[in-house]
Structures are given as structure tokens and as C-alpha cells.
């Protein structure tokens, strides 16, 4: 038997990242680093009011100011039929306001000038006359009798209701509730927060009058989809649009929507004939771009006297802002929320959802939410812990009693999902063991006797990612496949181009490793490119943890396709029959004669110099992968907290996070993703909030109000893993990027609720700030 070659970068190896070099040297090519000859700068004027009629927009003074090339208003955009644009949820959104402004921060006008300083100076000189209208700032207000009508621009819109949506079975769920021994209810609010990547959104639009081509640099997580949208919205022929998504400084769903600024900059470039750059500042980012969550949820869990879950009923009211622009698959209105039965074998469930317009920024699907799975997971994990506390059963035991069992997979849930694989008991046991749960529980009891306020929270989430199978998943009608195109050069190096777009997830390394595994070319020799729509195969982009499940699968498939061709070439070179060849790591050898072998590099050269008759030259291919199903990563997170009785401050003493995302391609990168998501979950649980006062003024539109945790507050994370491969994915891999943001908020909050349970506290809505904890303690007579 031939000695196995050690190949650097195969699946499972934590090789260092190939893309690091440019970032470490400060040579990343982010959007704002791009400078083109003749480039102009755009600044957007935004509405200070949440809801107001526009009486007049006076740009005369601004137009005369130094360096100003153009001032664009809604009226001008309307002349070009660009004042409104379609959203990803089949609604319309104002590009520049014409009749009314509908949220504080909405785009009203834009100044294009030689420098950004001059553009902002001129922006200050635009005078807008508003007639203020009452602001609607919640679904409750939106549906109230006599509420102001926000979307009076829509012909058939008589109120502020957007959609009604249901999943599961009303009848069987009702029947189960009627027979239940106990029903536990939780009403909870998942507040509006924001992904806030370190880099804000931006565009450099270069519509070249000489060539007719539009080269658009854009912070885009989905460049091809955006190209198609631009073609439809701006009426530019799609072959003349080239979208280049350069290095992106974090996405988290913030860079999926098409923002008005993109459209205005492109229109401006078209009209002026020079490149136009628009980069939003942080306030614009927080006040107007795709926020996350804002779901008011009520969950009822029916259990029998033995603690077995019988049924789940959930209603949610969604606050969608002024335009329905959720970036989600079109067949759903509440994303994948109906995964809400989570890790539990619940025979029947019924979900109802209603969406409402409010005078706030549009959005809702963002911030590592897996299309609303964050909301669903939060609800079920909080409800389950509350139920356990109410029933007097240990949180972990109650979960284990009701977990879907390993032998039940593939598991059909009460709302129609087919979970591919899982072993929830094992992940739970690993987490409890790593935490030292039994001893810690005793320790909690001891500390409580001394008057300390301390608790342990658990969350066992099941995620659903990898959108998705074309018949069920599309965005604006474009099915959610994804793609990989692989080309091997004569010297045995390779170029891999994909339809996804990394914003820091390490695609240049991870996907190279798939080629290494399948085709034996070392990861160092595989160049991965994404983001240029002229060269990359069509894909739906990177968000909702879909890259590994879909484009990763495509990479495996195309690599195997090339390996099939390589086998034929090897047979030709070795003068053997194809069936007599074995593949091992990076070469084909003749069965029984291991030294009669050809490496992939030799085969690659032969593909250009010595191919069998009738075969096309080259060694390349493309795969468009339509996933047969979603993948279902899962895990158990456990958090220990100590609470300061004097101030209400919560300190996370420990957090153990056990994740199962199937086969891990690069464990180092997977762990990095988990660290990041656990930190975001921490921020969401304890400090992040975008809220509005009665006039609709946004509180949380800069980093002094919208709080991001620093290295001092952020806890240290202890990670564990189990591996339950996906049976349908070519590599057995599942997605993972969003698992920690999906699973951790409930774990953090459950720990606080567990700590306060002895005082009768059942719920504190996020963010669980010290004043709320203090109030709960004082109400229970606990003092320092």
C-alpha cells in the first residue's frame, strides 16, 4: 500500500487563513478605499421627522455652494421613474421622498460635490418645509382605531396591516390544548436591534458614458442578485452592469438589502457621467438601514402531567417599519420562524403572524438571524425554561425529556420542516459535563442560602440554514441555488469562483480546503474569488449561514466532476482502464501497482498537452447546486450569572457553548464564528436597543446610544462540539455562522430568570439592563 501523502489543508484541518496578508498590512480593499478618476462624493439629507408631509424642498442655496455638481430631490428622481423601488418582499420603498416622509432618517435629497466636506456643507443649506403628522411607533398603535395611515401611497392599503401568515395546524393544536394538564404562557418582546458591522454601507457607481457600462462597487452580500435588481429597477441592460463587491468589513445581513443611497448614487452617475461615491456614516447606518427583530411574541406550551410537551401555539406581531423590505425567501412572510418547535418532539403546533407598518426604518431580517430563526429560538427556549421553572422540573431534564430522539431523524416537524440529523441529548450531556452542571447547581443553592443572587440558564437550539431548495426558496423569483466554478491550470494550480461573498467568514481558505479534499490540490494553490459579477458564476450570496451548505456543496460537486475527468485522463496516461484506477488524496494509481500513478498536477498538465482523442482540452467545470433540503445545526449553551443586589448588574461568570454543525471544514474558522456570534448574543441580551419616543425620534442611532460590548464586558467563551453529519450534504457539513446568535440570547436571559426565579420573576425583556434587574429585586424586597 502506498504511503499516504500528507496534504496540507484538507477538511478538518485548522490551516491559517490565506486572506490575512492584505488585512494585516492595512491593504484591504474596502469600499471607502476605492478612488476613481473624476470621482464625486454624495451626501444624503434625511428627514428629522418620523411622519410628515413634505410641503417644499428648496435646493437653490445648496446648488450654488462651492464644489456642488448636482442636488437630487425626489421630484427629480420621479421624473426618471426612480423615486420608488421594489423591495425584496414585493413592496415598494421610497428612494427619495416625494409626498411624505415615513420614518426619521428617511432619504429626502442628495448633494453630489467634489469632496465629502463640501457635500455636507451644501446639504446643511437645503431647506425642507414639513407638516408634521402623528407618529405610529408600535404594532399596537398601528392597529389601533384611528391610527394614522402610513402607506397612503399604496392604492389598496386602508390601514397599517401588511400581512397575515400561518403555519401548522389550528385544529389539532386547539384539540391538544383542550386536553392539556397545564398550559404555560410567555409574552415576550424581542426588541429592535441592529447588526452594526464595523464598516458601514456604501457604493461607488461608475456609469461610463463612453462604453455604456455601469461598474458598481458596492458593499453587497449578494452581488448577482443586486445586479439583477439593478437591471430591473434602473432599466440598465443586465450585461452592461458589473457589480463588484470588494472586501467587506462585516455584513451580518446589513448588506443584503438594496438601499436608496445605492440607487441615487447610480442615477447620479448616469446623469452626470462621472463616478459617484456614497458611504453612509454610522448614524445613517443605524437609523435607516436594515434593522433586526422587533417581534412581539406570545407563546403557549401545553404539557401533560408528566412534563411531556403536547402542543405549541405562537402568535407574533411584527414591526416592519415604513416599508416591507424583509430580505427573506418570498414564500414566507415571517421567514423561517415556524421552526419554532425547535429541538422538541411536539406533535402539533400553530403559528400565526401579522406584520404592521410603523414610522420606523424598514427591515427586520438581519443580524445573523437565519431569516427570523433568532426570534423563534428565543421564544421557544425562554418558554421551555419558564415551563420548567413553573413545573418544578430541572431545565435540562425537562428539555431532555422532550428532545427529538436520534432515531427519529429525519424528523418531520409539526410545521412541516424535515430535520436532516441531530443528537440533542448528546450535545446537552457534553455541555452539562463541560460546565460541571450538577456541582454548579449545588453551588448555586449554597450561595443562595448566603443571600447571593445567582443562576444557570440553558438553551438548546435547533437552527435551519442553507437556503435552499429551489421549489421552496427564492428571492424575487430567483431560486436559491448556489454555484462554484473550478478551473485547474496547466501547472496544477486552481482558480475557484463562487456565487457567495464573504464578509470575514474566511471563504478564501475554507472553500479552497474543499478542493484540497476532493481533488488533492493543496489549499495554498487554490485561489478563491468571489464578488465580481462579470466573472463569478451566478449565486445568491452569503447570509443566513448558507455558504457552506449550498456553495460548499457546489464546490464539492464540481471538484468531483473534475476528478471524474481527471480519472479519464489518468487512464489515458497510465494506459489502464478507468475501473482499474484508485484515487488516493491527490493521485490515481493502478490497483495493485501503487507506483504506477499520476498526480493531479501531472493530470492537469496533460489536460492541456496530452488528452485522449475526442475529449475537450482543459480541466474545468461549474456546478449550480440545488440543495435537497436545509441543514439543521444545533447545540446546547449554558450560562452562569451572578447578580449584584445593590446595582442590579449582571455578570456572566461562565458560558459553555456546545455546537454541532456536522463536519467542520476548518475548525479554527468555525470556532471564530461561534465566538463572534456569542458576543453578539451577549450584546443583544444585555445592552442593545433601538427604541423610539412618542414622536418617533430614534434613540439608538449612534454608538453612544446603541451599545456594542467591548473586550472588558464580553465574557470568555468555553466551546465544545459534537459532530452529527448532515446525511444529504456532499461533505456532511451544515452551516454554523448564525447558530451562536440564534441560541445564546435565550441562554443568557434564562440564566438571569433562573437567578431571579426564587423571587417570583418570570420575565425580563431584552436588553436585560441593570435597572430592570434592580427593579425586579426591589419589587421582591431584595436590597443591599
Amino acid at each position: 500500500m502506498a504511503t499516504e501523502v500528507h496534504m496540507h489543508g484538507r477538511i478538518g484541518e485548522s490551516i491559517k487563513r490565506k486572506e490575512d496578508g492584505r488585512f494585516l498590512r492595512g491593504k484591504g480593499n474596502y469600499l471607502d478605499d476605492i478612488e476613481l478618476p473624476g470621482m464625486l462624493h454624495m451626501a444624503i439629507l434625511r428627514s428629522p421627522h418620523a411622519h410628515a408631509r413634505i410641503k417644499s424642498v428648496d435646493t437653490a442655496e445648496a446648488s450654488k455652494m462651492p464644489g456642488v455638481i448636482a442636488v437630487v430631490t425626489g421630484e427629480l428622481m420621479a421624473q426618471h421613474k426612480l423615486a420608488w423601488m421594489p423591495t425584496l418582499s414585493y413592496d415598494t420603498q421610497a428612494v427619495l421622498a416625494t409626498d411624505k416622509v415615513r420614518f426619521q432618517g428617511q432619504e429626502v435629497a442628495a448633494v453630489i460635490a467634489e469632496t465629502l466636506y463640501l457635500a455636507e456643507d451644501a446639504r446643511d443649506a437645503i431647506v425642507v418645509d414639513y407638516d408634521i403628522l402623528p407618529a405610529v411607533t408600535s404594532p399596537e398603535q398601528a392597529k389601533a382605531e384611528g391610527a394614522a395611515l402610513i402607506r397612503d401611497d399604496k392604492e389598496n392599503q386602508k390601514d397599517n396591516h401588511i400581512y397575515h401568515w400561518e403555519a401548522g395546524s389550528k385544529e389539532s393544536t386547539q384539540a391538544a390544548f383542550a386536553k392539556a394538564d397545564r398550559v404555560v404562557r410567555l409574552h415576550t418582546f424581542y426588541p429592535r436591534c441592529h447588526p452594526a458591522p464595523m464598516e458601514t454601507c456604501g457604493i461607488v457607481a461608475d456609469v461610463n458614458p463612453a462604453t455604456g457600462r455601469a461598474t458598481i462597487y458596492m458593499t453587497s452580500q449578494a452581488p448577482h442578485l443586486h445586479r439583477t435588481v439593478f437591471a430591473l429597477v434602473a432599466g440598465l441592460p443586465e450585461e452592461n452592469i458589473r457589480i463588484i463587491s470588494p472586501d467587506i468589513g462585516g455584513g451580518f445581513g446589513n448588506k443584503v438589502p438594496v438601499y436608496p443611497g445605492y440607487v441615487v448614487a447610480t442615477a447620479a452617475s448616469l446623469l452626470i457621467g462621472r463616478p459617484v461615491k456614497w458611504v453612509e456614516d454610522r448614524t445613517e447606518n443605524l437609523i435607516s438601514t436594515g434593522f433586526a427583530r422587533d417581534y412581539h411574541m406570545t407563546g403557549d406550551l401545553a404539557v401533560d402531567k408528566d412534563g411531556r410537551m403536547l402542543a405549541l401555539r405562537v402568535h407574533l406581531d411584527s414591526d416592519n417599519g415604513a416599508f416591507f423590505s424583509d430580505a427573506q425567501p418570498t414564500k414566507t412572510k415571517a421567514g423561517l420562524f415556524h421552526i419554532v418547535t425547535g429541538s422538541y418532539d411536539i406533535p402539533t403546533a400553530h403559528v400565526t403572524a401579522d406584520g404592521y407598518y410603523t414610522n420606523k426604518a424598514p427591515g427586520g431580517v438581519a443580524y445573523r438571524c437565519s431569516f427570523r430563526v433568532t426570534e423563534a429560538s428565543y421564544l421557544i427556549e425562554r418558554l421551555v425554561t419558564n415551563a420548567a421553572l413553573e413545573l418544578g422540573i430541572d431545565q435540562a431534564e425537562f428539555r431532555k425529556k422532550n428532545f427529538i430522539k436520534p432515531e427519529q431523524f429525519p424528523y418531520q416537524s409539526a410545521t412541516g420542516w424535515v430535520y436532516d440529523s441531530g443528537d440533542y441529548h448528546r450535545a446537552m450531556d457534553v455541555a452539562l459535563d463541560q460546565l460541571g452542571y450538577t456541582e454548579l447547581r449545588k453551588d448555586v443553592e449554597e450561595r443562595r442560602k448566603k443571600g447571593e443572587v445567582t443562576g444557570i440558564g440553558i438553551a438548546s437550539f435547533t437552527e435551519v440554514v442553507g437556503a435552499g431548495h429551489g421549489k421552496d426558496f427564492d428571492l424575487l423569483g430567483v431560486r436559491m441555488f448556489d454555484s462554484a466554478e473550478l478551473r485547474v491550470h496547466p501547472t496544477g494550480k486552481a482558480l475557484l469562483r463562487m456565487g457567495t461573498k464573504s464578509q470575514g467568514q474566511g471563504h478564501e481558505t475554507t472553500f479552497a480546503q474543499i478542493v484540497t479534499e476532493e481533488l488533492g490540490i493543496p489549499a495554498a494553490d487554490v485561489l478563491v474569488e468571489e464578488g465580481d459579477t462579470d466573472t463569478a458564476p451566478y449565486g445568491l450570496g452569503t447570509y443566513a449561514s448558507r455558504s457552506t451548505p449550498v456553495a460548499g456543496a457546489a464546490t464539492a460537486m464540481v471538484s468531483r466532476k473534475l476528478r471524474d475527468k481527471a480519472r479519464k485522463i489518468a487512464a489515458h496516461l497510465l494506459e489502464a482502464a478507468e475501473e482499474d484506477l484508485e484515487w488516493e488524496v491527490n493521485r490515481f494509481y493502478v490497483k495493485g501497482s501503487p507506483d504506477k500513478a499520476k498526480t493531479i498536477q501531472e493530470i492537469a498538465f496533460a489536460a492541456y498537452s496530452n488528452i485522449p482523442d475526442g475529449m475537450e482540452a482543459g480541466l474545468e467545470g461549474v456546478n449550480y447546486y440545488d440543495p435537497p433540503n436545509m441543514t439543521y445545526p444545533f447545540g446546547t449553551y449554558a450560562v452562569v450569572v451572578d447578580i449584584d443586589k445593590g446595582t442590579g448588574q449582571v455578570k456572566v461568570r461562565r458560558i459553555v457553548a456546545v455546537d454541532d454543525c456536522g463536519v467542520r471544514i476548518n475548525p479554527m474558522i468555525v470556532e471564530g464564528q461561534i465566538h463572534g456570534g456569542l458576543a453578539e448574543g451577549f450584546g443583544i441580551a444585555f445592552m442593545q436597543l433601538i427604541t423610539f419616543d412618542a414622536e418617533g425620534n430614534c434613540i439608538g442611532s449612534n454608538f453612544t446610544d446603541y451599545l456594542l460590548p467591548t473586550a472588558v464586558e464580553t465574557p470568555r467563551f468555553e466551546l465544545g462540539e459534537t459532530v452529527t453529519p448532515s446525511p444529504h450534504h456532499p461533505l456532511g457539513a451544515k452551516g454554523v455562522g448564525e447558530s451562536p446568535t440564534v441560541g445564546s440570547p435565550a441562554a443568557y436571559v434564562n440564566a438571569v430568570i433562573d437567578a431571579l426565579a426564587p423571587y417570583g420573576v418570570k420575565n425580563i425583556d431584552m436588553p436585560v439592563t441593570s435597572d430592570k434587574v434592580w427593579a425586579a429585586l426591589r419589587a421582591a424586597g431584595v436590597n443591599e
Binding site: L116, Y117, E120, D121, D124, D281, G646, T647, G648, Q649, M687, L689, T691, I699, T704, D705, L707, L708, P709, T710, V712, E713, T769, S770, D771, W774, A775, R778, E784
Partner: protein, 291 residues
């Protein structure tokens, strides 16, 4: 995100600075580290016609013992205070407070003088100079004034400093005998302004408290000196009850507003808890010789 246009002068002597302020004080803003002023300029909340940068004036960045006080120069940065051996020996409470200000990057530029002149009621130094019964020295082209800390703060972002004046130093009295202090701050995260903070300092005479200083941050239109609470401690043995009573009085002196950080009741209670904890710590430090 950028300032509106302004003129800029960077005098290299104090006299030059004072002469400029004499002429243009009303339209000018004095800048040392710029960590409070520049953010306001960028948001265009402040639009002075002239910025007078005093950072190039020599001799203003010292932290020196002089007679019965430590003189902290106008250009002494928060980080200089954090690292000062002199203050470690004579007034370590200032170092505890410095550690809590903003974040490490801001502390490399911002100054104590600039901070108190900015007079944000959520600023930490204001409470420290109140608790330490400090003096502020201000100079103009016409002469020098010494302003006691308790006369310094007039309202939110308003001080006794006139447009033609520059603060040149802050004098922290150095106590003889056993003394100790503490600075406690509740912030939602590093870099946030205080939800509540308290500065506490005590001087012991034998077993009793001779004098006390208590300054409160972020619970009123200015930093607040809790004078009644201070008086309640004079001449008393620092028992749990005495301390608890003083803490209650301090809470009563606070006038916090309800906002995203919490209700007024919450903030008052944190004042109480912090003054209680702070006094215990200050007394313990005084007793063990650590100040």
C-alpha cells in the same frame, strides 16, 4: 460628520493665548486634548468661529507637589494622572477615577482641566474635585483667579470660567494624616458615560471622621456635592449605621433624570449603594495607610 469651517490658532505661550482670548473669547473655544470638543464640532452641535489650541504651550502638563497641594496642569492628561507616582502617593483616588474615564484611547489625549471646563454633569472629574475640595486656577490677560470647586459648576455645560480665561491648573489639597478615598462608577459598558458614579474621600482623626467629601456624577444638572451627607459624618465614628445614614442623605441630594439608563429611583438607590460602599472602602484605606 465633519466640522463646519473655523479658524485655528495654536499659541506657543500662555500670554499669547490670553491675548487671543481677550480679543476673540466670545467666538472662541479653547481646546486641549479635543476629546470633548471635537465630537461636538463633528456633529456641528458646536460651531465656534475660532478654536484656540493650547496644547503647544509649555509648562502646563505637570503634576507636582507644591506646598499643601498637588498642582495638576491644564495639559495633564487622564493617562498622566493614571501613571503619576506623585498622585499614587498623595491622592490615589484620582487614579482610581482616571481609570474609569471614557476608554484608553481618549485617556491618551483628554485632560482633567478640559473635562471640568466642558462640565458635562456626567463627567467624572467634577465629582472628584468636589470630593477633594479642590481649587481651580484660571488666568486671563487681566490676572489670576482661584475658584473653589464648589463654586465652579453653574449648570449643565456651564462653569464659572469666562470666555477670556484659561484654566491653568487644578490644585488638589493633600491631606496630612490618615485619609482615603474611592471612586465607584456604574457604566453600561466601557466608554459609556456614567449611569451613576460617586467620588468619596475621608480624613480621619483618631477613630473618627474629621472631614469628608462626596461628589456625585450624572445625577443632577451638574456634578453634585452631597454637603449634608458630608456634614453628617464630621466627628463621627464610621459605624455601619453612620455610613448608611450618610449614604441615604447623599441619595436625597441627587436629582437624577429618568432616561434609557434607568429611572430616577434607580439612580438614587445606586447613589446610596455606592456611597455606602465607597465610604467603607475609603475608611478602610485610610486606616491601613493606603489613601
Amino acid at each position: 460628520m465633519f466640522p463646519a469651517a473655523f479658524d485655528y490658532r495654536a499659541p506657543t505661550t500662555l500670554d499669547e493665548a490670553l491675548s487671543v482670548l481677550k480679543q476673540h473669547g466670545d467666538e472662541a473655544k479653547v481646546m486641549a486634548g479635543g476629546q470633548s470638543l471635537i465630537p461636538l464640532l463633528k456633529l456641528r452641535f458646536s460651531r465656534p468661529e475660532l478654536v484656540v489650541d493650547i496644547a503647544r504651550i509649555p509648562g502646563l502638563n505637570g503634576i507636582e507637589r507644591d506646598d499643601g497641594h498637588v498642582a495638576i496642569g491644564a495639559l495633564a492628561r487622564h493617562v498622566d494622572i493614571e501613571r503619576s507616582k506623585e498622585l499614587a502617593a498623595s491622592a490615589p483616588m484620582l487614579q482610581e477615577a482616571a481609570h474609569w474615564i471614557a476608554d484608553p484611547l481618549v485617556r491618551n489625549r483628554g485632560t482633567l482641566a478640559g473635562s471640568i471646563c466642558h462640565a458635562d454633569p456626567a463627567g467624572d472629574w467634577g465629582s472628584v474635585i468636589l470630593a477633594m475640595h479642590a481649587d481651580v486656577v484660571a488666568r486671563s490677560a487681566s490676572g489670576t483667579r482661584v475658584i473653589h470647586a464648589s463654586d465652579f459648576f453653574k449648570g449643565p455645560f456651564e462653569t464659572a470660567i469666562k470666555p477670556n480665561e484659561v484654566v491653568t491648573e487644578i490644585r488638589i489639597p493633600v491631606a496630612m494624616g490618615r485619609n482615603g478615598g474611592a471612586y465607584l462608577k456604574l457604566e453600561r459598558k466601557v466608554g459609556d458615560f456614567a449611569t451613576v458614579a460617586v467620588a468619596v474621600h475621608v480624613r480621619l482623626d483618631g477613630d473618627r471622621i474629621e472631614t469628608a467629601g462626596i461628589g456625585l456624577t450624572a445625577v443632577g444638572p451638574t456634578n453634585i456635592q452631597a454637603t449634608e451627607a458630608e456634614r453628617s459624618l464630621h466627628g463621627k465614628e464610621p459605624t455601619d449605621k453612620v455610613i448608611a445614614d450618610a449614604a441615604r442623605l447623599a441619595a436625597e441630594a441627587a436629582e437624577p433624570k429618568e432616561d434609557v439608563r434607568g429611572s430616577a429611583a434607580y439612580k438614587k438607590d445606586v447613589v446610596r449603594v455606592f456611597v455606602q460602599r465607597g465610604l467603607k472602602t475609603a475608611v478602610a484605606r485610610a486606616k491601613e495607610g493606603r489613601r
